[in-house]
Symmetry: C2
Subunit: 615 residues, 2 copies
């Protein structure tokens, strides 16, 4: 089966990329553009930057110490999508491999001299993932041989040491290679890497939590430190837990996920609150302006959610995956598939200067064509290339559809034709193309109170979780799910200090944002009124309008005072909201997801009291 | 005259450290402890860490590339305070100087190969400042000769290039050496360094704003980038402007200061909003939890304020200096003078683990005995050693007292004995010890509405600015200033997103904070009620109590929702507030300066509306 994650046990089974065919629509369009634009764009840039040339022995070597991994991520994207550039690129890579399987353009000659920061095992992880993709989508070739040689080298070199890599990923790659080949040494190596961490395995690290090396994986309470590292390690632990039948380890990751989602995740699904260390913050430390919410952390969170969904069958994991797919992954790429966000903040105070060429920074104000650290474009490429694998899963001989996109899904004699305008509309129709007796479950997201399922002439309410239709399905029959896609106001938990006094608008799975526009009110001075937003459709996109008050405070010499005078009388205004994933597609702009809310009585400050009462 | 800043013109003139004698009290105690504890503490640590040994040719060299500068900062502290360890340490330093004046234990042999990051000129700056201090407090010796040799080397090497150092400070040191020696080449070198910046002078820098190299100093609108760099450069520009009579340059810095204070400064006077790059943020980006507010940025801000005060005579600069002295400088050091904060956040969410020994991080939860980057302890040492210079200044033949501390201040035949319990009490008495006809001006801080001045039997109101008493003063006469030191609630400008819905308590010049304590309510769940705080004196410290509501939200699986249920009915509670500078002196604790305010009507969320109204 062609699929990035093929566990040997678990509540749900993947049905394979090859069982899903996407038609035009939100995701089908993006997957097509990924193939046509993003994959060649990444290859061109890595050729131009010399990172591919490094494999040809280019001197001096160019790019960061982990640049090899970017080529491997792109090879994985090419493998899933059957891209014709793969064989040539794979031959270049394989040509640089040493006789014993070692392969790294940066550290050859200084092997494993800096495990904390060198990324050698991280690079192997992505090579192995590319190899697994090629093996499943095509069969043995030069790339799969290189991946196995590298994996065998890793097992020989690290099986009996206490070492790990500073950046997890090789763990989940090794589990997948075990699943693809049956060779148990790969699973055992992955298991050891996961269990070593936190003993500690990277002695001398200034901040072990950055590397998740502060406590063993099975004792940790929450995800912490560098967000992508933390998420890849958690995903690896799920893979190891599933293959070794380690229920305690699986439960530990579920507990960590729960607290991370309840206290350390942005409304968009974005993870990572700090630019410093690209790290998770403390519980409820979720600043919108300095949210890091790296695109790759979104990719990693979707990978973790998918593994937990397959292992447990709990649709809450698909809920977070959906939120992250629409508001981090889709936001991370420009509509043309050729520029990208590295960080995905929920507020941009000052419209940024447009940048040309390589963006050395990650500020999140405008998308960049390329980055010195180019994990995000390549990670998006491999994720979109395998997106079909995330849409549905098998439940015994039943089928669960988790994400809605126009296209066809087949499994074991059952073929469904999905038609939907989701996420813009909430109507999803599944028409039976080939039928049999089956339990068909359609996911109802947690936000969708009041959903309804209709089939065989009957409509019934469908609460969050799954709406289930069981029957002996005949071709032509239809199941229709109606999700209440309409704008809703969302408030933060009071402990999220950075969002106090604000609210956001969501519609279906989409988070909305206000963007500064020529004629709109200044975003830092407007306060939204919590009434029902108006909808307006333009070019297939639903935009929203909310009433606002414009009551700017006067500029003062010192911004802290007993009371703050108004600069002028309050005026009525209108804030136009666009889907967050479309932000910054009309040029540099200020932006807010979380809108300050106008005090109901129009008091001058946020406390609702007059200064005299406070003495 | 013995003084760190001796401009040749300006609205006010320094009266010299040697004209001020501090008695027991807030600052007198700290200055004494600085001499007895902090200066030897710093020397011991730098000996132990090998940084002093570097000057003896220690191999391998130890410490960061700028560690030489820490020894120079300490030498400056020793010079101002006449510390007996100076000659020995100065001899060690001078012994490493090369024949042409070059002196650096890191870069000798690779001179000026990395001007952006190497800190060679930065190190000279601190050496020269130490030399000026020694020259003024003692006279010529080995240290002053080393400083002049270095300055002459700098002038020869850099006068006709376009180069600058990545970290300003040599500029103001050169101006002061010009003031101390009359040699104009030092002023001209400083002027060129200031004018070169922003042309740009550090080509290839990824982020020129970090180095203040994005626009020329005289065109910049606000302080930006690395906070200490920005403040040192601004102080240097004032020095150059004053000595060259460049009114435009002075005005440019005043304008930058105004916007920085109005929009980029924390309530404590702390500057720097970002851990990443130790940098200023955008306007109104002032997060309490991730406030960086480096202790050294506080030192630098006091230096800038003092220069602007002398140049213009505007007491607003003394207001900010006072705020920063009490809430950043005093907070930066533990009561025993032997541990320090590097960053000074206004909120600590989670009580930190206590740390032993060298703190590689800067998190601001507990004070550390030492740091890998040890600018802060040494900078505090040199500032406290010269603190007397900041207390008063001459205005023609009059005297302006800017900061209140028990002690004696003399100037030109006028000697005042100051008695005060400030900042705990607002009563300041100036008794004339030696008299003459003079205008005595006592600063009235901006917060002190309702102050009163009493002398010769008459009491009159004294508005913010200066309270002026002019007379032919005879020994034994008294002037009494009464400042209304009582607790007051302070609200943030509505544009400070991170503080929405919060208020802070100040009392006199002191910012207060709530600290988690054994029996107190959890800081993240309590909401303060804006009523008059109660005072309670304990061991000479005024603590405060404010009523609060404890209405914890229920834990939920996702922290964003249409409404948030309460975990249990609201309870009344009391928040105990302590002066911010005494935080973390009773062990690790959570802490908040900005307290969430209870909604007046007890509504469940911060919007004051019920969910049904929002649809």
């Amino acid at each position: 089966m062609v699929d990035p994650v093929l566990p040997s046990s678990g509540a749900l089974s993947p049905i394979g990329l090859d069982s899903v065919r996407l038609g035009p629509g939100f995701w089908g369009d993006r997957v097509a553009r990924n193939f046509q634009a993003t994959i060649p764009h990444c290859q061109e840039w890595m050729e131009r930057e010399g990172w591919i040339g490094n494999f040809r022995g280019r001197s001096p070597r160019r790019g960061r110490e982990f640049s090899d991994s970017e080529i491997y991520k792109l090879l994985e994207a090419m493998a899933w999508s059957g891209h014709p550039a793969l064989p040539g690129l794979a031959a270049t890579v394989a040509g640089a491999q040493e006789g014993d399987g070692y392969l790294n353009t940066r550290w050859s000659g200084q092997r494993y001299s800096d495990l904390a920061w060198g990324h050698e095992l991280y690079c192997y992880g992505h090579l192995i993932q590319a190899g697994v993709a090629r093996l499943r989508a095509y069969g043995e070739d030069e790339l799969t041989r290189a991946a196995r040689l590298a994996a065998d080298h890793v097992c020989r070199r690290f099986m009996d040491t206490a070492e790990v890599c500073g950046h997890p990923v090789v763990e989940m790659a090794l589990v997948e290679l075990y699943r693809a080949t049956g060779a148990e040494r790969y699973l055992e190596m992955a298991r050891r890497f996961v269990e070593r961490r936190g003993l500690p395995a990277l002695p001398g690290a200034a901040d072990p939590a950055y590397f998740q090396d502060d406590v063993p994986v099975r004792q940790a309470q929450v995800l912490r430190g560098h967000a992508v590292r933390a998420l890849y390690l958690a995903a690896s632990a799920v893979d190891v837990a599933v293959e070794t039948g380690d229920a305690d380890l699986l439960k530990a990751v579920e507990t960590q996920w729960e607290r991370t989602v309840a206290r350390r995740t942005h409304l968009t699904g974005g993870m990572g609150s700090r630019h410093a260390d690209e790290a998770f913050g403390e519980d409820f430390e979720l600043p919108p302006d300095r949210a890091y919410a790296e695109t790759c952390a979104g990719v990693a969170s979707v990978m973790l959610c998918h593994r937990l969904l397959l292992a447990t069958g709990d649709p809450r994991y698909a809920d977070l995956a959906e939120r992250t797919m629409y508001n981090v992954l889709a936001a991370g790429t420009a509509p043309d598939g050729r520029s990208f966000f590295y960080s995905n903040p929920l507020q941009v105070r000052v419209p940024p200067e447009p940048r040309q060429g390589v963006n050395p920074g990650v500020a999140g104000g405008t998308r960049s064509a390329w980055f010195e650290v180019a994990c995000c474009p390549n990670n998006i490429a491999r994720t979109l290339a395998s997106l079909g694998a995330y849409l549905a899963a098998a439940d015994g001989d039943g089928l669960r559809v988790h994400h809605y996109a126009t296209g066809e899904i087949g499994h074991d004699g059952l073929v469904l034709r999905i038609e939907t305008g989701y996420p813009w509309s909430g109507a999803v129709t599944a028409r039976v193309v080939e039928g049999r007796t089956a339990r068909i479950a359609l996911r109802v997201p947690a936000w969708a109170g009041g959903a309804a399922l209709t089939y065989r002439g009957e409509t019934r309410p469908a609460g969050p979780g799954y709406a289930v239709a069981e029957a002996d399905w005949r071709p032509g029959e239809e199941i229709r799910l109606d999700l209440p896609v309409r704008p809703r106001w969302t408030l933060p938990d009071r402990r999220v200090d950075a969002l106090r006094g604000c609210a956001a608008v969501e519609r279906g799975p989409l988070v909305y944002c206000a963007e500064s526009a020529g004629d709109g009110p200044p975003l830092d001075l407007a306060e939204a009124v919590l009434s029902a937003p108006a909808e307006r459709e333009a070019d297939g996109v639903v935009e929203l309008e909310v009433p606002a008050r414009l009551a700017p405070p006067a500029d003062t010499a010192w911004p802290y005072a007993e009371s703050h005078p108004a600069a002028r009388p309050a005026e009525d205004a209108t804030l136009r909201l666009i889907p967050y994933h479309l932000r910054a597609t009309r040029g540099p702009a200020a932006m807010r997801v979380w809108l300050p809310i106008a005090a109901p009585d129009g008091t001058d400050d946020t406390t609702g009291t007059a200064p005299a009462e406070r003495r």
